[in-house]
Symmetry: none
Subunit: 249 residues, 2 copies
DNA sequence: ATGGAAATTGCAAGATATTGCAACTTTAAC
DNA sequence: GTTAAAGTTGCAATATCTTGCAATTTCCAT
């Protein structure tokens, strides 16, 4: 039995049953478990299966579904969140958007801070509700299934009645010339209003979202006051934003 | 059974049901509870679930979980939820309160059901947002930290503008003579309004909450139309409610 | 064909990982 | 507080992995 032939049989087996054991393969193919182990090692390096202690699992079985976006670039988001918190002080009225970066802000909020938060994001609101000293007000409306935020005319109407000191705006895309863009028109409608009613606007963005654009425009770069990324403010990539008048954090 | 395989199965389970118990997993997977504990520990460190006393919660669920102890009495709550769902039909406008039993209703909702839900509960809203065909409208207001629901005058004002077909009301305490009671005045204010504006009211209650009372009255037994418990309608303990005119499910 | 380098294979020993158990500590429910 | 359930820690038994090595096979240039 050739090595390639044996490995092909192993692959067929793992794709059929989702898992294979050293012991079974050793018996079926009449080679030592060491050989099987080495085969699985190679196949694993080629990315054809996932080796685990005692055998191997098919890729499809192993790559189960979990929300990758929530743990994606977690460290960077925490860095951004810590910077954003420095903009907050007692007594402020803060409008905070959805997104995982703002969720992180809500999570690391200093316990003694006394701020009134307005938000349209269900996850953010839930996290804010854990805070001992800050108040949270949820702006009601029809819940958008994707973004988990309230949308629609009711949201716009409610927001027009308040005048927040600061808006913490998470974003998918920011470009030095085109400004803030997004892909979901319902989200854009809400974001536009949030920015219009707020005294100051801070955009929170992981650096790899800079220089990218989406289909729908939210606002120009001139309506943004702060840009918060995980990078140091003197990074060259941030220079265009500084020249556009944004304060970097 | 391979360790990784077992962990993959655990993840599948937790993502499906939102919660898992040591004891159940131990039995299903035929390993000791210690092993399950260690698996959950590892998965938790990898950020794939959240470990809690007695088991684990899915990441998405934990964000809006009330107390960790709420994973108990899960079977009873599912039973109640399944009964409650039978009251729903396409086109209805349904007002749904907070609480873990209603959260369970939201989770097991048949996917093809087309209902418009109004709710004040953040956790319930998040779960409802997962539903493919039903709409969810969140009634905005100041978020009560304990109950994770919106409260205050704005809620009452918004609710007075709608006329729901049915109100699914979770409860802490129900008594055949004193009616519905609760311990948090902000919650009571919202519940009162929900019951007043709704055409029909169904109270969802685990049987051990029957015959108990709290400090503040929500409504009399005569304002309730349905009582849904995990027990069979012919249980003697339910007789007083039947005599009071409630339909038992 | 055939000598010899390279690859493959099986084996063994030491290292590491997994698992269940038991003693002990912590937690939370009453 | 008291108590029962759950969690933690250390440990021993077992299983699996790694590594080096020697025996064997394959391959290819002579």
């Amino acid at each position: 039995m050739l090595k390639k032939e044996r490995q092909a049989l192993i692959l067929r087996e793992v794709n059929l049953h989702n898992k294979v054991l050293h012991a079974d393969l050793s018996r079926q193919l009449q080679v030592s478990e060491d050989t099987i182990r080495r085969d699985l090692q190679e196949l694993s390096e080629e990315g054809k299966l996932v080796k685990v202690r005692g055998g191997a699992l098919s890729k499809s079985f192993h790559v189960y579904s979990y929300k990758e976006s929530e743990i994606y670039k977690y460290a960077e988001k925490t860095t951004i969140a810590r910077k954003a918190v420095t903009l907050l002080s007692d007594g402020m009225l803060v409008l905070i958007s959805g997104g995982t970066t703002n969720l992180e802000v809500a999570r690391i909020l200093p316990p003694e801070l006394q701020v009134t938060f307005y938000t349209c994001s269900l996850p953010t609101a839930l996290q804010l509700a854990e805070h001992p000293n800050s108040d949270t007000i949820f702006v009601g409306g029809r819940i958008s299934k994707n973004a988990k935020i309230s949308t629609g005319g009711q949201v716009v109407t409610t927001l027009r009645d308040i005048r927040p000191d600061l808006c913490l705006m998470g974003t998918n895309s920011l470009d030095a010339s085109l400004g803030l863009t997004d892909s979901d028109w319902e989200v854009v409608e809400v974001k536009k209003t949030m920015i219009q009613v707020s005294d100051q606007v801070a955009v929170l963005s992981i650096s790899d979202k800079l220089q990218s654009t989406q289909k729908i425009r939210v606002c120009g770069i001139d309506e943004v006051d702060y840009l918060i990324t995980e990078l140091s403010p003197d990074e060259p990539i941030l220079a265009p934003y500084h020249q556009a008048g944004l304060k970097l954090l």
